[in-house]
Subunit: 139 residues, 3 copies
C-alpha cells in the first residue's frame, strides 16, 4: 500500500467558476502506478467545493441557478457586515457542498459513470489561484 | 494494509428511489476480513447520490419533500431544454448530495449510529440498474 | 501503511451546535506518527454532520440561517408525526450535509486552507454527548 500525491493549480475569476478536472485527476491516478484503491480530491479553502456533475452547459447553468437560489450573491450576510469582503455567499455554498470527494480506483482508472465529471467549484468573488490536492491510496 | 472491493447492483424505478444498503455494505466489510480502516461507498453516475439517514417512512418522506423543494421534478431546467431527457432535477440533486460516503471500520464492523442507515438515492426518471462500488481499505 | 484511530467526545445543547474540532483532529493526526495520507472525520448518528467553514461568528450565523431556511426547526415533518420527538429538521440537515469528511495529511499536518476549520454540527433538539471518529490512514 502506497500513498501518492500531486497538487493541481487552477486559475479562477471573480465569478463562480466550475473547473472540470476529471482528466487531470485521472492523470495523477495513472502516474501513481497504483492499481486498486481510492482517490481523494480535496480543495483547501473555505470558499470552494468539490462534487461531480454531467459537465454540459445546461446542467451547469441549472447548478448555478440552484446555488444562487440557496445563497444569493447579493444577499445579506453577517459575514459581509463583519468583514466587508462580500463573499458571504461563497462560504455558505462551500460548507453546503463540502471540500472533499473520494472516487474508487480500479486497474489504475477512476470508476466514474460515463457522464459523470469531477468539478471544483470556486465561489470566491475575486480571482484566485486555487490548489486541489489529489491523493491516491491503494496497492 | 489491503484493498477489498465488491460491486452491488440495485434495480430502480422511474421515481426517486431511496435504497437502504447498510446490511449489504456491512456484509462486504465482513467479507473483506479486514479489522480496522474505512469503507468507501460510491455510486458511479451523475443522477444518483449516497448519504445516511434514519431509514423510517417519516424521515424518508420529509427528505423527498426537501429534494422536491430544492430541485422540483417538473421544474424548468436548461439541461432538459438541451437534451430533452427530463432529468435535469436528477443532476442537481446528485451534485448537491454527492456520490461518495466514507464510514470507519472497527473490528470488522461499520461504526454507524444506532439509527443511522446508508442510503443510495437514484433520482433518474427511468428505471435503471445502478452500481454501487464498496471499497474497504485497512489492516 | 497503518491505520490510527481516536474518538473525540463533544457535549451539545438542545439547539444547533457548531463544534470547531480542527485542533483536536490535528492532534490525533500528530499522535498517529503518520506522515502522508488522509484523515477521515466521521460522526456516527443521523442528526449530526461534518463539514468545513471559516469559523467566525458572521459565517456561522449565516449558516444557521441557511439551515433554518432549508429545514426549519418548527416546520411540519412526517418524522415528528410518527415519533413525536420533534427532531425531523435534524434528520434532514444531517442527510443533506453528510456525516463524513476526508482531509489530506502531509508531513503529519492537515492540508486545510488558512481560514478553513473542521466543524461537527449537532442538530438534535436535546443535549447529547456526541462521538466523532477520527481515522488516520497513510504511511
Amino acid at each position: 500500500m502506497t500513498v501518492y500525491r500531486q497538487i493541481l493549480e487552477l486559475d479562477g475569476t471573480a465569478g463562480t467558476d466550475i473547473h472540470e478536472v476529471t482528466s487531470q485527476v485521472a492523470a495523477v491516478a495513472a502516474d501513481s502506478g497504483l492499481s486498486r484503491g481510492s482517490v481523494l480530491v480535496f480543495t483547501p479553502g473555505s470558499t470552494a467545493a468539490v462534487t461531480t456533475i454531467e459537465y454540459e452547459p445546461g446542467a451547469l447553468s441549472d447548478l448555478r441557478r440552484l446555488l444562487e437560489d440557496l445563497a444569493p450573491t447579493d444577499g445579506e450576510y453577517a459575514h459581509n457586515l463583519r468583514w466587508g469582503d462580500g463573499n458571504g455567499y461563497s462560504h455558505l455554498r462551500s460548507a453546503l457542498l463540502g471540500p472533499s470527494l473520494t472516487v474508487p480506483l480500479e486497474a489504475g482508472r477512476l470508476m466514474l459513470g460515463a457522464w459523470q465529471q469531477i468539478v471544483v467549484l470556486d465561489f470566491d468573488n475575486r480571482p484566485r489561484r486555487r490548489k486541489v490536492v489529489v491523493t491516491v491510496q491503494g496497492g
